[in-house]
Amino acid sequence: MADEATARRGGTASTATPNPTEAAGSTQVLPAAPARAGRRGTRPGLRKGLEIAFFVTPALVVFLGFVVWPVVKAIQYSLYNWRGYGPMVDFVGLKNFTYVLGNTVFQGALSHNLIIMVLSIAIQLPLGLGIALLLNRKIRGRNLLRTLVFVPWVLSEVVTGVIWRQMLQADYGLLDTLLGSIGIPTPQQGFLGDTSYALAAVMVVLTWKYLGLAIVLFLAGLAGVPEELNEAAQIDGASWWQIQRRVTIPLLGPTVRTWIFLSMIGSIQVFDMVWILTGGGPAESTNTMATFLYSWGVDRNLIGVASAASVILFVIALVFALTYQRLVLRRDAIDYVPRKARKAATR
């Protein structure tokens, strides 16, 4: 469990890091600034520093205790062959890491994570964008529709998982009953029990659950697109479709890029829905990295191996997050200057 928590915090760690360092930096800079004040000396600076320390310390303590410390412990566990009880003495170096990386179940889990990531974006982006654009038009019952679309995301993951598992059950499930009554054959093992359908079934449920978030974020982004631009384009004779394509969607860029970031990190860490729907089965066909480290750590008591898996998961999530921030999200920063423009300026 601890490993999962550690791994999950991996994503937040990357986004949360700037704040403490920023704060720490400013405490050092500030006392030097009022040197010219002479008579009053360092007092206001000291006071400000203390103030900052006072307000930052609780958050910093929580961050160190519940993010940094577990990460450090997980790295320590990952270097030992340890079962969770008794003294931790059997140091094995990087053996756990080579085991995890060479394990076909883990490789499968990693590929499932990547499939979920790519499909989430490939399916939810056009679908979410389309629905958001439609819901942005002035139609009757717009608020009701917006609420309905958002409902799946509000449901708890466990509730969603249990409901869908019931519906997808072989023979007795709602879907099998419906399809059977109109003569469409269903897999004998049910959608969740058949290795060739299980991941797709999980994907359907994930899409159903998370599409609402994409739509709400896109609607919020659309609200920020100035009406005048639409009007100007209309006056120039642009069709509705042309306006969306040339004006609205480009202006939605920052929102879309942020959503892709959230979706990516969520896909790497996905655990609860898969765990409830299939438990990683049948025959390991829906395992993700998080379910892998849970079964190896909790069911098999291989804390060392599970910690190694959690460290790998953490590193993957971190690399994805940092790369994406550097390559994509940087464009959305206020002071961003494209490279071409910079070159032109220096010339």
């Binding site: 008794g86 049910g190 069911d299 008591n301």
Partner: protein, 436 residues
């Protein structure tokens, strides 16, 4: 490894709150144990407090154990027994935490095998070979699952075996009888399927119910020594382990199970494997001795009617004894620093008198032969008869192998049911053993 002995869950909240209350007092009990260095075995004068965790958290079991403890305390005024009765799953979780923190109860439930070996290797469990020698000889062969390197660490108080529970009404209606051999069984399965009845249910989502089939095929195909040594040494080189996998594959290919069995859970809800048998949706299920109790729980607390039991059929040409069985049970074990009085009380729990009362209340299948005749339920009594006549009871392979290798074997068995090559069972199990 959630091999549940489903007990009525109504008292879960009570159990947890009691557990939390008592956890606060738990630290004190250790002080009592420190003063008893001499092997006084219950006859000393110094005050001793013993903590005891068990999973009979509903009556009549809970009241019975309290009575047993009161009786013992009356005989031994220097001993105080503090009981924590928890729901089974709560107890397992709390025990795992207790193992990790080292703050353990003096007497706890131990499932034996590789799990016990891990506890012994971590120095958590007390060697009771000499202190409880008399009781160990009374119990006889059942104690083997709780021995590590020739030393005994637990006293099994309930042992059952796995077999087929079937709906006598459905079987009679279709003109089939409990089979003695696999040929008979295949014929019965064909007849049932031809009549539109799903022969068997299995909770493959939980893995272990399905893995039991492989355990049994291996037990029938392999000689006793091959099984015992193979599980102890992680040596699956004998060809019989693969023959068993092929038998399993042939069985899977005959399609005897409920639709969607790979996503079916073992014991929770009406569409679980046990629920399907309780509702008459399938004709039989292979499960442990807890099955009548589980079905009763799924049937609003009333016992399911027309249910009987038959053992796993003989496999032609197999080197194993057709009367051997896969089974397991629960034992009382003492933590490493428990006082000797705790062991004395454990011996009292295995005495004729306490075990007879235990059997009469259908709390389990007693291990003390003196109590064998006292089991009230007829199906359980027939199972007990088979168990006592069995020349060899092999502990569930996953428990015997320990959590790591055991779970790897179970997962590999499920893979075969989903279409993998049967040889992967041995290969995957052996690969997991390399981490030991």
């Amino acid at each position: 490894m959630a091999r549940m002995r489903a007990r009525a869950g109504a008292a879960v909240v009570l159990g947890v709150s009691v557990a939390m209350l008592l956890a606060a007092c738990g630290g004190d009990s250790d002080n009592g144990s420190e003063g008893t260095d001499e092997p006084s075995a219950g006859s000393g004068d110094e005050a001793v407090t013993i903590t005891w965790w068990h999973n009979s958290n509903t009556d009549p079991g809970m009241g019975y154990y309290q009575q047993v403890a009161d009786d013992y305390m009356a005989e031994n005024p220097n001993v105080t027994i503090e009981i924590e009765a928890m729901a089974h799953e709560d107890m397992v979780t709390q025990l795992e935490a207790a193992f990790q923190s080292g703050n353990m109860p003096d007497i706890y439930m131990e499932r034996g095998g590789g799990e016990l070996r891990q506890h012994v290797e971590a120095g958590l469990t007390k060697d009771i070979s000499d202190l409880a020698a008399d009781t160990i000889s009374t119990i006889g062969g059942s104690v083997a699952g709780w021995q590590v390197d020739g030393k005994t660490y637990g006293l099994p108080f309930s042992m059952g075996v796995v077999g087929f529970w079937y709906n006598t009404q459905i079987w009679a209606d279709n003109g089939v009888e409990p089979p003695a051999t696999w040929d008979d069984f295949y014929a019965a399965i064909d007849t049932l399927k031809a009549n539109g009845v799903a022969p068997l249910s299995v909770g493959a989502a939980d893995q272990w119910p399905l893995a039991h089939y492989y355990y049994y095929f291996a037990l029938r195909e392999c000689a006793q020594d091959t099984v015992v040594n193979g599980l102890a040494e992680f040596d699956f080189s004998d060809e019989c382990w693969n023959t068993a996998a092929s038998d399993l594959k042939a069985f899977v290919d005959s399609q005897p199970f409920n639709d969607g069995f790979l996503a079916t859970v073992a014991q929770e809800g009406a569409t679980s494997a046990s629920g399907l048998l309780a509702n008459g949706q399938v004709s039989a299920e292979m499960q442990g001795h807890w099955e009548p109790g589980v079905m009763q729980g799924l049937n609003d607390g009333t016992p399911v009617e027309n249910i009987d039991w038959f053992p796993f059929p003989a496999v032609e040409g197999g080197a194993g004894d057709p009367a051997a069985a896969i089974g397991g049970g629960d034992a009382w074990a003492a933590s490493a620093d428990a006082p000797d009085e705790a062991v004395d009380f454990m011996m009292y729990l295995l005495s004729d008198e306490v075990q007879i009362g235990f059997a009469e209340l259908n709390m389990g299948l007693p291990t003390n032969p003196a109590a064998s005749g006292s089991v009230a339920d007829p199906a359980l009594a027939s199972l007990l008869e088979f168990r006592d006549a069995s020349p060899f009871i092999q502990l569930y392979f996953d428990t015997a192998l320990g959590t790591n290798v055991g779970n790897a074997m179970n997962a590999a068995v499920v893979n075969v049911f989903a279409g993998a090559d049967p040889a992967t069972i041995v290969a995957d199990t052996q690969a997991a053993a390399e981490l030991e």
